[in-house]
Symmetry: C2
Subunit: 129 residues, 2 copies
């Protein structure tokens, strides 16, 4: 059985880690780094991000331990530090690819009990606020 009733603190930590991945720019960077370590300039070219912006994202990834950093002369090479994260991304990608529609859809207006009437939309719509 999968019993892991996380504490509030752990919930926060898990959420924080998800938040690092909840940004297209950072996912893009991780994707670039899959092919191997890259220095910042190469990442700028590959992603199209501005230097300052990319630098901040790299900082975020680094602080959270998702990427490692090595200086080589004037260049700094970044590399994926935790391969397990890529596993997570792949899993999520597969889930997204398997999604029914193209975007978050509200799944019908509201849940209705099988026996209840349908529709009956906005009985008296009270124009004035």
């Amino acid at each position: 059985m999968n019993r892991t009733p996380l504490s509030a603190r752990d919930l926060g930590r898990v959420a924080a880690r998800f938040k690092v991945l909840a940004e297209p720019a950072r996912l893009q960077v991780l994707q670039c780094l899959r092919g191997g370590p890259q220095h910042v300039g190469a990442l700028i070219d590959a992603t199209g991000l501005r230097q300052a912006n990319l630098s901040k994202h790299l900082q975020t990834l680094h602080v959270h331990g998702l990427v490692g950093r090595t200086r080589a002369g004037r260049f700094i090479h970044y590399a994926i530090a935790d391969p397990a994260v890529m596993t997570l991304c792949d899993l999520m990608c597969r889930q997204v690819a398997a999604l029914p529609a193209s975007r978050p859809r509200p799944r019908a207006r509201a849940a209705r009990a099988p026996g209840s009437r349908a529709a009956a939309p906005a009985r008296s719509l009270r124009a004035g606020r």
Copy 2:
């Protein structure tokens, strides 16, 4: 090999789905729903969230297809709609549990090339901005 160079649109979708999970309150709700479907009142008790707040989080989870909704009389039961998401959460939990330190740590001040001098902290620290 793991070649999946996502398009910009897909990156956005993956990030959006991660963002849904990047919130302690929503993780808490999902955790509560693991034991089986619950109605809103029960979730309020279980999570301690305010009604309006919880309702918004449930809406978010529902719109993104993570939970399903069924009306039963005056009650509305929510249930996990996509078990795969829980797999993702478990994976992340295990990664977080395996983290070295307790919080996002900056991993040493800065990367240094193996041959370069150590330290030499702030050569002339230029007090004035």
